[in-house]
């Protein structure tokens, strides 16, 4: 599991690549949290490189999004692969963690 973090015009972009199974979440969760939560980031997360996600990955996103929400930050996900998107839909998380189709709409939502 790889993770890239960049910042542009006040928005932190997190690129995740690989598998968000249990070993994958173990590999990135601490760094991911440390990169966005303390600074109350407006963060967008590129999911286009994520091939797999399970419930532990969902738990990670809920935990980080909630921590950001409490600090007046926010997290927007975008560009999930079809089966990953299906997992989000099954878990009915779309209402509490926005999932956008592309980077442009995700950044706009993060800045709104």
């Amino acid at each position: 599991m790889k993770m890239d973090i960049t910042e542009d015009d006040g928005v932190v972009k997190v690129g995740l690549m690989g598998r968000l199974d249990t070993p994958g979440v173990d590999a990135v969760e601490t760094r991911f949290t440390a990169a966005v939560v303390p600074r109350a980031a407006r963060a967008v997360v590129d999911l286009s490189g994520v091939e797999f996600i399970g419930s532990l990955g969902l738990r990670m996103f809920i935990t980080i999004a909630r921590a950001l929400n409490r600090r007046n930050g926010r997290m927007i996900l975008y560009a999930p692969q079809p089966f990953v998107a299906q997992v989000f839909e099954t878990a009915s998380l779309g209402d509490i963690i926005p999932v956008k189709p592309d980077a442009t709409s995700a950044v706009a939502a993060a800045k709104a």
Binding site: P23, G54, R66, V87, D95
Partner: protein, 162 residues
Amino acid sequence: MAGAPTESSPRIDLRLAATRQGFAAGFDELRRGLDALPLDARARFSVELIFEEVVANLVRHGTRTDAPTTTLSLEVVLRDDAVQLTFLDDGVPFDPRSRPDPAPATDLEHAEVGGRGLMLIRSVSRTLEYARTPEGQNRLSVAVTRDATSGPRMSDGARSGV
């Protein structure tokens, strides 16, 4: 059961310790085995999702404290229109059919953080059967629908076994 076995009944058999290390090694072994099976992408994702949720749940919640190790075996059998997964573990008794889904989340502050693993298993399963065996093991059988017309072609490697 989910239909008759295919002509050559390609299959995967693996066994792992219910630890994080055993989980990671077992997942790698499963994925190598799946590489050799003619599965469509949706069925493959579903098989991996079920493995992730079943094994993660066992490692986190199902290991026994009165035994030195908890082990799990998995049999994956390819049938005409389905993939049949049979998990057998010697952990604490656990019937996944008995657990309700978490309440739908209305806002971040009140969303349940966990509890979605069983929901995900149910969402990709055609059938889900559980029994506690006379030997004191959990036996979970899950069938995943397979689209035999859209998956990769049966390779010589798959026919020769995994």
